[in-house]
């Protein structure tokens, strides 16, 4: 979607287990939900 919206040079960091040990862990595990850091640029 980022590229569809016009961003370039899109990078994605490694997954982070943001929900491990929380009340939302079971749903997160069920759908393999992780946190990620994203980097994208607006073209010059």
């Amino acid at each position: 979607m980022l590229e569809e919206c016009g961003f370039v040079d899109v990078e994605i960091g490694p997954p982070v287990d943001a929900f491990g040990g929380s009340a939302g862990e079971s749903n997160a595990r069920l759908f393999e939900v992780y946190g990620y850091a994203f980097l994208a640029r607006k073209p010059r």
Binding site: G6, F19, G24, Y34, G35, A37, K42
Partner: protein, 201 residues
Amino acid sequence: MSGDFPVDPIALREEVKAKYREVALHPHGSFHFHTGRPLARRLGYDEGLIAGMPDSAIEAFAGVANPFSVGALRPGERVVDLGSGGGFDCFVAAEQVGAGGWVVGVDMTEEMLRRSRTAAAAMGLRNLEFRQGIIEQLPVESGWADVVISNGAINLCADKRAVFGEVMRVLRPGGRLQFADIANGKAVPESAVRNIDLWCG
């Protein structure tokens, strides 16, 4: 329901507002996600930075990853934080851009804005401000920002294209979007996608 969204964007916004009002008022309450200093450690923020933050600046933090892990901000940069919540990422950004930079946190929840402004004043920070607004219609001048950051907020909006369109508008040409958010590796059933309660726990 309005438009082609899986849930009503207005109803979702009210649900999110109610949830994060609760986080602002009772940050040590019971939520489906972690909060505060333990969460910042889990997400890999710098330990010295975490240790140096007063409780008021970090206890309502509810991010999902570390947007600064893909690159530190540079001195003098102008930054917008989408869904700034309790202000933690703004405080990190303010330190990185220094006195010559400026950080604008945008949040729709009065209680979060009050919390973040109080914490900023207590920390003596003079290079940031918090504005009330929604991230689909940012209260920021076009082309003003060098960098847009966000942490766990974009996934809470039904109209993500509107959010990215606004990011594109407020960024200068060549500017960066560096944000943290969740993504799922397995497809979520249609019934769950349309369940507004599951969007914000």
